[in-house]
């Protein structure tokens, strides 16, 4: 009984997160657009920021600090691990080490 209740509670919590997230994504497109247009980063670096926001967070949080000296090696490694294209790699480099 306890087992079923806990499993049910866990699944319900997951479902609630999903529904909440779905509702939020539908109700806030204007905010998202405003946020992206307010960015001062443009061109290749802007695309790099998009690649960073889109791909890196799929697996981990962004590092709090990233020295320009290590950026090339980090991006090269992430190209392999995150299966980035050559264009994505170049854009990411422009964003992280302009």
């Amino acid at each position: 009984m306890m087992k079923t209740l806990l499993a049910f509670a866990g699944l319900s919590a997951c479902l609630c997160f999903c529904l909440f997230a779905a509702a939020q994504s539908r109700s806030r497109p204007a905010q998202r657009k405003a946020a992206s247009s307010s960015s001062h980063v443009t061109g290749e670096a802007g695309r790099g920021e998009e690649v960073f926001r889109t791909n890196c967070s799929r697996c981990h949080n962004a590092p709090q600090e990233l020295s320009p000296r290590v950026v090339r090696a980090v991006v090269r490694q992430m190209r392999v691990r995150a299966i980035l294209t050559e264009k994505d790699e170049q854009a990411l480099l422009k964003f992280l080490a302009p």
Binding site: G10, L11, P63, Q64, A73, T85
Partner: protein
């Protein structure tokens, strides 16, 4: 002997990378931590260091490796004396060649790319909960590592979707610290960047002794508008099948990611495993098992993370409480100073 040869090879690689270009500085990153766990009253403590080495060579080559060095301090039963044992593991050491966006060739030792947990979330500084999912051994036979070759790449990459694949062959290896099973497998997935939704499936065929097929599917969704991450996997093998579903919510809406509350993350995970055939040595539970976990992560400045979680595990052999706690530190620095 194998370790000595590997050290010499690494030194040569680092020197080569340094000679090629000042900007291609090799890096040493990874994580260190102290993990503690109490399972049904039995304690387990693990100081861990997991260094990652990445050495870019020219424009297309990269050598990368990760080791896991841990001391396991454990009890056999509640209240009994502690015993200690050191476990050094070479998790991957591979040479990558970026031939094109659609093809990267890797040779050496690699993490078996089945579903997404083993090669993407197993690092101690990345995983949201200290314990790996119950179904992790499915599809990653025999030990999660492969010695051989792997191909991966992005087949299609547009603004609306990205299609990617991974395929590998691993040979049987009984070399000390480089053990692996003979297997082949593939993974294919699609990622929708506009909604950060990823779906994929995996396959593995074990090609030694008992030949068997394992397959799985996975899902990951990180909506832009809410700081929540929803991930799950399903895996099936002739020995058993199961799934896990995890959600993580970062309280960054409360003053941003660096605020007192914004550094906090709540994590929940449910998982079930169903045993289909009795088996030993498959690293899976011998009976059906269910588990529910709930935990907290707190991201301190300077890449330090505190985590604590509680789980309840249900099995016909007995239900147990599982308490986990730990602190991890993620480091990243160039391998040698100087230069630009």
């Amino acid at each position: 002997m194998a370790w000595r040869l590997m050290r010499i090879a690494l030194l040569a690689l680092v020197c080569q990378a340094g000679a090629h270009a000042q900007s291609d500085v090799p890096i040493l990153s990874g994580g260190a931590g102290f993990l503690g766990s109490t399972r049904g009253g039995t304690n387990l403590f693990q100081p861990v260091v997991a260094p990652v080495l990445a050495v870019p060579i020219g424009d297309r080559w990269l050598f990368e490796s990760r080791a896991d060095l841990r001391e396991v301090i454990s009890q056999r039963a509640p209240g009994s004396a502690y015993s200690t044992r050191f476990f050094p593991t070479l998790e991957y050491a591979q040479l990558d060649y970026n031939a094109a966006s659609w093809l990267t060739i890797s040779v050496g030792r690699f993490l078996i790319p089945f579903n997404m947990y083993n090669d993407r979330f197993s690092a101690i500084w990345i995983r949201n909960l200290a314990d790996a999912p119950i179904i992790l051994p499915i599809g990653t036979y025999t030990n999660g590592y492969g010695d051989g070759a792997m191909l991966r790449g992005s087949l299609v990459s547009t603004k609306t979707y990205q299609l990617y694949y991974t395929a590998y062959f691993s040979s049987l290896s009984t070399i000390d610290k480089l053990e692996s099973g003979r297997s082949a497998g593939a993974r294919a997935g699609v990622f929708f960047p506009k909604i950060r939704l990823e779906l994929g499936s995996s396959y593995q065929r074990l090609l030694q002794n008992q030949q068997m097929d394992s397959y799985g599917a996975y899902l990951s969704w990180l909506p832009y508008s809410v700081p929540v991450a929803i991930r799950g996997e399903y895996a099936h093998s002739p020995h058993g099948h199961g799934y896990w579903l995890e959600t993580a919510y970062r309280f960054s809406r409360f003053g941003g990611q660096d605020s007192l509350l914004g550094r906090l993350q709540a994590v929940g995970r449910v998982q079930q495993f169903f045993r289909l055939r009795p088996g030993t040595g498959d690293f899976l539970p011998q009976t059906d098992m269910q588990r529910v976990d709930f935990g907290w992560n707190y991201f301190l400045p300077h890449e330090v993370r505190l985590n604590a979680s509680y789980g309840r595990q249900f099995a016909p052999t007995g239900n147990v409480n599982v308490w986990d706690f730990g602190v991890t530190y993620r480091f990243l620095f160039p391998l040698y100073p100087g230069g630009k």
